[in-house]
């Protein structure tokens, strides 16, 4: 393995650390010094909070969409821009301590296409601007198409490209932004690790995906997550299972289970079609693996039973493609799922640390 690759493995590891758990990424605790910590008192202000938060160490713009072709064939796409800072403060050009990582994926029932881009801040290769809003790395872009009176994320254009796929989509929001946890202060563990977290879960998507076999017009529904923090997760946490489900009745469910050697921690947001949120406490969401598949030499649970007793929800989620493995420098599983049971719908599942 060449040094650049090896180096980058470490870089990516640092970036993803909070998402995949601190385990195996030693030394991160010390690097927190000098960065801001999430504060429950913080209230979001837009468009500023659509942009980067340089005082924090880690941040992402994370978009997933469940799509269908003209013949009903299901597809899924992912577009993610990660930001991580090696140290607080800025620097001109290549001296900038900010690193950027882009992940893009296109999933079908039989294939999972992945691409990755890496960059550092300062020279303009990757970044985020708020007015007008744009997040980009290389030629991948998430660009606001919203009118001046609207929230910048109300309408966006999204492009990405890999060696064997690309997509070019327009996303129109049909509901408001949604904040998670305590006014956007999202707790990740019983020990108090947390992030700032809001979403736009109401996108109607249309556009074109390009597969190795050719272009396909698609429509579907999308979900954007915005999250930033400085704090690595608890060292006891080995990974997490996160889901975003868009149910046929218009309800959305965001939930996660932090796998913790001292007892799992769960959190969830029950989002009404009008955007109001019920924040569900630890334990309200129960996630039970039903079936695992052998993916990338690991046993990955690709079928789950999801129970939210308080909302009378008991569903099974099943992966569109078991092999939705993100073979990026830090690998994880991320792919579209189908929902069956008391509710029906589609969504995205992310599993890290396996």
């Amino acid at each position: 393995m060449n040094a650049a690759r090896r180096l980058f493995l470490a870089a990516a590891a640092a970036m993803l650390a909070s998402r995949v758990g601190a385990q195996g990424f030693a030394g991160l605790g010390a690097a927190v010094e000098g960065f801001d910590l999430p504060d429950p008192a913080t209230r979001f202000g837009f468009p500023a909070d659509h942009g980067a938060h340089d005082a924090f160490r880690i941040e992402w713009w994370y978009l997933t969409a469940s799509l269908s072709g003209p013949d009903g064939t299901p597809y899924g796409i992912q577009w993610t821009l990660f930001r991580t800072a090696l140290k607080p403060g800025g620097g001109a050009g290549f001296q900038s301590p900010t690193l950027w990582m882009g992940h893009a994926a296109l999933t079908t029932a039989t294939a999972h296409h992945v691409a990755e881009r890496l960059a550092r801040g300062g020279v303009g290769q990757a970044g985020v601007t708020t007015v007008p809003f744009q997040a980009w790395i290389d030629e991948w872009e998430m660009t606001s198409l919203a009118g001046p009176a609207e929230d910048a994320l109300n309408k966006i254009a999204l492009t990405a490209r890999g060696a064997d796929f690309s997509y070019d989509l327009t996303l129109q929001a049909t509901g408001p932004l949604v904040v998670h946890g305590d006014n956007g202060y999202s707790v990740k563990s019983s020990e108090g690790q947390a992030s700032h977290y809001y979403s736009q879960p109401f996108y109607e998507v249309s556009g074109q995906i390009v597969l190795p076999s050719g272009p396909v017009s698609v429509i579907g529904q999308g979900w954007l997550d915005r999250e930033w923090s400085s704090q690595p997760l608890s060292e006891r946490q080995t990974g997490w299972d996160w889901l975003s489900l868009i149910l046929e009745d218009g309800t959305r469910l965001m939930g996660y289970r932090m796998r913790d050697t001292g007892g799992d921690f769960t959190a969830a947001s029950w989002i009404m079609p009008d955007g109001t949120v019920d924040v569900l406490p630890d334990g309200a969401l129960v996630m039970t693996p039903l079936r695992t598949a052998r993916v990338a030499d690991r046993d990955i649970p690709i079928e789950w039973r999801i129970d939210v007793a308080a909302k009378r929800l008991s569903v099974t989620i099943t992966a569109l493609n078991d092999a939705a493995w993100m073979a990026t420098t830090v690998p994880y599983w991320e792919g579209p799922v189908f929902v069956t049971g008391t509710h029906r719908g589609r969504g995205y599942l992310e599993m890290t640390g396996y």
């Binding site: 640092a14 090696l86 960059a119 020279v123």
Partner: protein
């Protein structure tokens, strides 16, 4: 049966351990010198390959700026945003450490390009952090122990004196913020992108460098080493051949008996091959070990030469390569079979009852000598033809080879002729016998004499070349380095500040500004020179138009170096293609030691053509006595780094140092070759000594004392060595001429005036002749101390 046969054959060596030692010494010396040279070459080539493949230079297209100006780093982001998979690189030389610094962006570098870090791989935090780290070759780590640099990590894949770090760090170390030198284009560029010439018309896409210019530049140097290695190997084979020939003769009776006892001939031959194979393996192993030592001892000098001559950084530490060991062993085997070929063939065809004739083996017929002489004449004729019509490096080396082989083949015939003439007009009986017997010894000693001739001739030839070069080079340096001080500044701003201060304090400031580019299609440098007496008075012109300096000052002509003129066939008056426009050639100057093409135009024209060229180097003219003081004052006042102000003497010393190191290797190989030739002579004499006994015993019986006979034997060898030396001197001069007028021209692009150094020949005679005498001394002493019984045994089969 095999075991019995093999044991019987091997028993010979137990009885004659000296022959065994000689055979092994001969073969292992041959292997050692050859494989030592190969090891050096392999090490150097691997360094070149590392340099060539560094950061995928040999693999990926690059984008460079059209005018050689640095590229703003924002261009990188623009290209990335347009979808072009490019990665930025900044390069530069750090005068304080002598390091070539290369800054990369590990985030966008194409996969498989950056070197592997050894041991504990550096962490991203270390690499990208402000303090950063540099990847260097393990050798370089040692050299830089005291340098003021970020932490160093060792990696094998890098050429010496090259450091790779994060682009941000290297920009800072080189004082080039916001600047990149070129962009690497990942070969995985997707289709359908906006063409580069639309989005970056100021950048040029350059194809990967194939094989590396260094390898091409240094080819001639390595060819030189190889030639020496081959020469030594051939000389070593002479030894092996001499010993094997004798051993086979002495074992004829044994083989006859074996066959009489019912061992099939085929089996004997197979066993002989097996035996030789075993011996070759032993000799090869010893040779490889010795070769490794030779290479390890010579490598630092070779590395020094290559660095000085070509700027090629070669690791000073030898790596043991399995392929090299196997090749060396195979070579020894091959050499053994070559040396034993004739003997094996004879054995395979030998009738059962052929008598043993060790004396006949040593006695080649006059016809054979003549035939050999005719072949030698053929080679010499070929050499003459090549000397007249040949061109290019292969022809030049062909000339050398033909010259040496021809002379070696013709030597026994010449010696026999001279000795025969002496024998013809003999005085006393002892003298008559001396010459007659010497004449008869010539064929038996001819291989050893040929080896001696080759060694002596190379000594004379290479010595003459080196001494000629030294004379010319020293004189040339005096002319060429006319400025008392040379100033290198880090930036034009610093330069302006220094010049403001220094100009009133010196007689003249001579800018030395240059750009790199294609000169008549060759890579090289174009310099701008001021119109100043320094150049008019000193510049070493080989040929020029009458008013060349005036024409140059008016911008009407350019001067080109000898390399450029020779390689592209330019003469004064021809038009040379230069960056920024063609000009007629006003003159050709000698430029020893420079592997590249070079041309000069007047400074005004240069400035007009290349206003952006960095103004960083100057020559300062002032009274020599004031130079040191001014240098010190200037350095202190402007806090210039070490090496920014260089006195003329220092550059001269450095240049001469490079020169001496280059030829230190040649000298060492020369001495070693002479050593091997001495061993060859010794081996031949020792093996012959045993056969000589029956020839000497009658003289003893007739009343010559053993002491006298021994003295005559030594005298004979000294006479033969002297005769060989007499032939070797003209041959060596021919060799020197071929080196100076053909090989150098083809390899380096310059011709040297050849001078003669008779004192060196005299010194060589004072070395070679006593050495030959010493080689003859031991056999002679043995003869002197021989108990009479041993001589008596000659006279009777029975002791009755």
């Amino acid at each position: 049966m095999n075991r019995v046969v093999l044991a019987t054959l091997l028993s010979h060596w137990r009885k004659r351990p000296l022959q065994l030692v000689l055979l092994l010494v001969g073969l292992s010396l041959a292997t050692a010198l050859w494989s030592g040279v190969q090891a050096i070459n392999a090490e150097a080539r691997s360094s070149y390959a590392d340099a060539a493949s560094l950061l995928g230079r040999d693999q990926f297209d690059r984008l460079v700026s059209r005018d050689g100006a640095p590229i703003n780093e924002a261009r990188f982001a623009e290209l990335r945003r347009a979808g072009w998979p490019v990665s930025p690189v900044v390069e530069g030389w750090q005068p304080e450490t002598g390091l070539t610094l290369i800054g990369i962006d590990p985030l966008t570098m194409p996969a498989g390009v950056a070197p592997v870090a050894d041991g504990k791989g550096p962490q991203i935090g270390d690499f990208l952090a402000a303090a950063g780290l540099l990847l260097v070759n393990p050798d370089t780590t040692e050299r830089l122990e005291d340098a003021d640099l970020p932490p160093l990590f060792a990696t094998q894949d890098l050429p010496p004196m090259t450091a790779i770090g994060d682009i941000a760090l290297v920009q800072k170390l080189l004082g080039k913020p916001g600047v990149i030198s070129h962009l690497v284009i990942d070969s995985a560029a997707p289709p359908g992108l906006v063409p580069l010439d639309q989005i970056a018309p100021d950048l040029v896409r350059v194809a990967p460098e194939n094989g590396g210019d260094l390898a091409r530049l240094t080819d001639s140097f390595h060819l030189n080493l190889t030639a020496f290695g081959a020469l030594a190997f051939v000389v070593g084979l002479f030894i092996a051949h001499a010993v094997i020939g004798l051993v086979f003769e002495q074992r004829r009776a044994t083989m006859r008996t074996l066959r009489a006892l019912g061992v099939p001939l085929r089996r004997i031959v197979v066993m002989l091959v097996l035996e030789l194979g075993l011996l070759a393996l032993v000799a090869g192993a010893a040779g490889v070990a010795l070769g490794y030592l030779v290479a390890a001892a010579l490598l630092p000098d070779v590395a020094g030469s290559l660095r000085g001559l070509y700027g090629a950084d070669v690791s000073g530490t030898l790596t043991l390569r399995p392929g090299w060991v196997l090749a060396a062993l195979a070579l020894t085997m091959g050499g053994m079979l070559t040396a034993a070929g004739a003997a094996l063939w004879q054995t395979a065809r030998m009738p059962v009852l052929a008598p043993a004739m060790p004396r006949a083996w040593a006695r080649a017929s006059a016809r054979q000598l003549a035939r050999q002489g005719i072949a030698g004449g053929g080679f010499l004729a070929l050499a003459a033809i090549l000397a007249v019509v040949g061109s290019g490096l292969p022809a030049a080396f062909g000339l050398l080879a033909a010259l040496l082989v021809g002379a070696a083949l013709i030597l026994p015939w010449v010696v026999a002729g001279v000795v025969g003439r002496f024998a013809g007009r003999a005085g006393g009986p002892v003298r008559q016998w001396f010459w007659a017997d010497t004449a008869q010894q010539v064929p038996g000693l001819s291989l050893a004499l040929m080896a001696l001739l080759l060694a002596l001739a190379s000594n004379v030839g290479v010595g003459t070349m080196v001494a000629s070069f030294r004379t010319t080079f020293t004189g040339w340096l005096d002319q060429r380095l006319a400025s008392e001080l040379y100033l290198n500044v880090r930036s034009p701003e610093e330069g302006a500040a220094v010049l403001d201060w220094v100009t009133p304090r010196v007689d003249a400031v001579l800018p030395i500004w240059s750009v790199s580019g294609d000169l008549n299609g060759l890579p090289g440098d174009l310099f701008g020179v001021a119109d100043h007496a320094t150049y008019r008075d000193n510049w070493p012109l080989l040929s020029a138009m009458p008013d060349v300096w005036d024409q140059l000052a008016r911008g009407k002509v350019a001067l080109v170096n000898e390399q450029l003129a020779r390689r592209t066939g330019l003469a004064v008056g021809d038009v040379v293609v230069l960056p920024g426009g063609d000009l007629p050639v006003g003159g050709i100057y000698s430029d020893y030691g420079n592997p590249l093409a070079q041309a000069l135009i007047t400074l005004a024209l240069f400035d007009a053509r290349f206003p952006e060229a960095p103004h960083l180097r100057y020559g300062l003219r002032l009274p020599p006595t004031k130079a040191d003081a001014l240098a010190q004052e200037m350095t202190a006042r402007f806090q210039l780094p070490q090496g920014a102000v260089v006195p003329q003497a220092e550059i001269k010393a450095y240049s001469l140092g490079v020169f001496e190191r280059t030829f230190a290797v040649t000298d060492a190989l020369n001495v070693l070759t002479l050593g091997v030739a001495t061993v060859a002579l010794f081996a031949s004499l020792l093996t012959l000594a045993e056969m000589r006994l029956p020839q000497l015993a009658p003289l003893w019986a007739l009343g010559l004392t053993r002491r006298r006979l021994a003295a005559i034997e030594v005298l004979r060898i000294v006479a033969l060595a002297a005769l060989t030396l007499v032939v070797a001197i003209p041959l060596g001069l021919a060799l020197a001429w071929a080196l100076v007028a053909r090989v150098n021209v083809a390899a380096f692009g310059w011709q040297l005036p050849m001078s003669l150094f008779p004192r060196d020949w005299f010194a060589l005679a004072l070395t070679a002749i006593p050495v030959a005498g010493i080689a003859a001394l031991w056999p002679a002493l043995r003869l002197m101390r021989l108990p009479p019984t041993a001589l008596l045994r000659i006279f009777a089969n029975e002791r009755g």
